[in-house]
Symmetry: C2
């Protein structure tokens, strides 16, 4: 069983409108709602890949109710085209008194360009954080791996991910961290098994915009393996066993929302299946690319994934 943690979960709302023009009035032509937050996206892809997955984090208020209802919906656990027959992530979200935040994507129908408006999220009390730590410890006892994903909500101390990493390591559960800024810096120092920064996050962490140099630096700071997502260039992996670059067969056009989360699902599933690094990386790149190709943000195109997987190029870097 794989556990994903989303401390700042969201109800993702998508509005479609002909074109967003500031300071005018728009009639929204289409409204869609789905569970949001990186860890929930990762869990959905893991479920579609056939892995038992449990989601935890926080949910509260009316928006939290909607999020949990949608989590339980048939079809949530499926990649686009994969049908609704796969299992769904198990809901182990911890209730809070505040309301789960909304994130709004306004999509221009003509260009497909998206404007994003993210609510800050509810403040978590210290009692709620303690409730979460209890739930987390219980989940760790049955976990094959855990992913810590996304930003921290107000009220949670900046070293929270470092604390969760130490607890996972103490329980002997491999832990992946996917966050940014100071929570990433603190988390890396707690020696997670994997971190998955994008190029910007890696540059902010290390001060270097040269991915290989930066990934090596992040390893020296504490991360056992650093998987840097480089957008259309695929991913660069600096691991104890070697350094690899995995590249998609061709650059694709589409919506990159959720591509990083799909890559995390690929890495985690490969980890618990004990695949060698090149196979894990190929899976991560194929899933990320199939996510860019899917019509809905954060879904992945299951047929495209199967077709892309054998065509991802993985090259080992000769250096140390």
């Amino acid at each position: 069983m794989i556990v994903t943690v989303t401390l700042n979960a969201a109800l993702d709302i998508t509005y479609r409108t002909p074109a967003l023009v500031p300071h005018t009035t728009h009639r929204v032509s289409e409204v869609a709602e789905r569970p949001g937050g990186k860890g929930l996206n990762v869990a959905r892809v893991l479920s579609a890949l056939g892995h038992e997955t449990v989601v935890t984090g926080f949910a509260g208020g009316r928006t939290g109710d909607v999020l949990r209802e949608l989590l339980g919906d048939r079809g949530y656990g499926a990649g686009a085209g994969a049908g609704g027959s796969r299992s769904r992530p198990v809901d182990a979200l911890v209730p809070i008194s505040g309301s789960t935040r909304r994130t709004l994507a306004v999509v221009d129908e003509t260009s497909g360009d998206t404007t994003q408006l993210n609510e800050p999220g509810p403040t978590i009390s210290s009692a709620e954080w303690s409730d979460f730590l209890g739930a987390y410890e219980r989940l760790l006892t049955g976990a094959d791996a855990v992913a810590l994903c996304g930003s921290l909500p107000p009220g949670i101390h900046v070293g929270a991910y470092a604390e969760l990493i130490r607890r996972a390591r103490a329980a002997g559960v491999p832990v992946l961290l996917d966050t940014s800024g100071e929570p990433l810096r603190r988390g890396v120092a707690a020696r997670p098994d994997l971190v998955k920064p994008n190029a910007d996050e890696l540059a902010r962490l290390t001060g270097s915009r040269e991915p290989l140099r930066a990934a090596r630096d992040a390893r020296r700071r504490g991360a056992h393996a650093v998987i840097a997502s480089l957008g259309p260039d695929g991913i660069l992996a600096a691991t104890p066993d070697g350094i690899w670059q995995a590249t998609p067969p061709a650059s694709v056009k589409g919506n990159p929302t959720g591509a990083g989360d799909s890559a995390v699902a690929g890495l985690l599933s490969g980890l618990v299946e004990h695949l060698p690094w090149p196979a894990r990386l190929a899976r991560a790149v194929a899933l990320a690319t199939a996510t860019v190709l899917a019509p809905a943000a954060g879904e992945f195109d299951a047929e495209a994934y199967e077709e892309l997987l054998p065509r991802v190029t993985v090259t080992e870097h000769p250096g140390p």
Copy 2:
């Protein structure tokens, strides 16, 4: 008791953000929610003026639940600065299976400019419309006046307001219509006691952009009295008893959202208090101006209202 009808009620959400830039990501600094829709705004101002008010229309889903909770909240029935001691509108909204729509205002913190995104609203079934007609008939038996406000939701026939006007007239209850487009055209033909179009709505109805000519034309089409809101120029009233223009003492800067709804509340309260036309018009203009001056959209500044009221100029038009 005054009844206000809001067939397309909304949960009004306001986001504050430094400046809206299309196709980028924004962190929302502040989120506010309140009951929305013209008839609910009118009812809030009527309550603040001390009038017993009942709101009806439709509410459903999680957003409908939030709307009804906020309607019941202490302080909802108060103008800004008027304190929370006034009565609140009574909730007689009819439940529906669909979800009440949201309307989102994104306010740029630097300029105060607002970008509006309005969801279309749930489709009303014919059974739900019948439920509403039953509730409406029961409310008419105790009503001193009724206001029909705003757009029609999907599923409601374009002659709906005309039907509601005929039923109010049959019950001997004075009826005010505040809508636009084809529902206004059909409604006017059903001979309402008052219509309150703005200059654009009046021009679309009559084909004339000259307010006096257009107001007279709208009277010929069926409206007993036409009160045209002319923004900073105040209002022009074409009535069976004469024609008046009411003008605020000075043009004011602020947020005009809800100013027209406050004017409707002024007209209705003056009607049930049997005030002469000039006093009704002065009240409508003073309330609308005090709404522009209030810090929150759709509130009115009670002190400003008291101070403005004696300073509104009402001049009678000499012509027939």
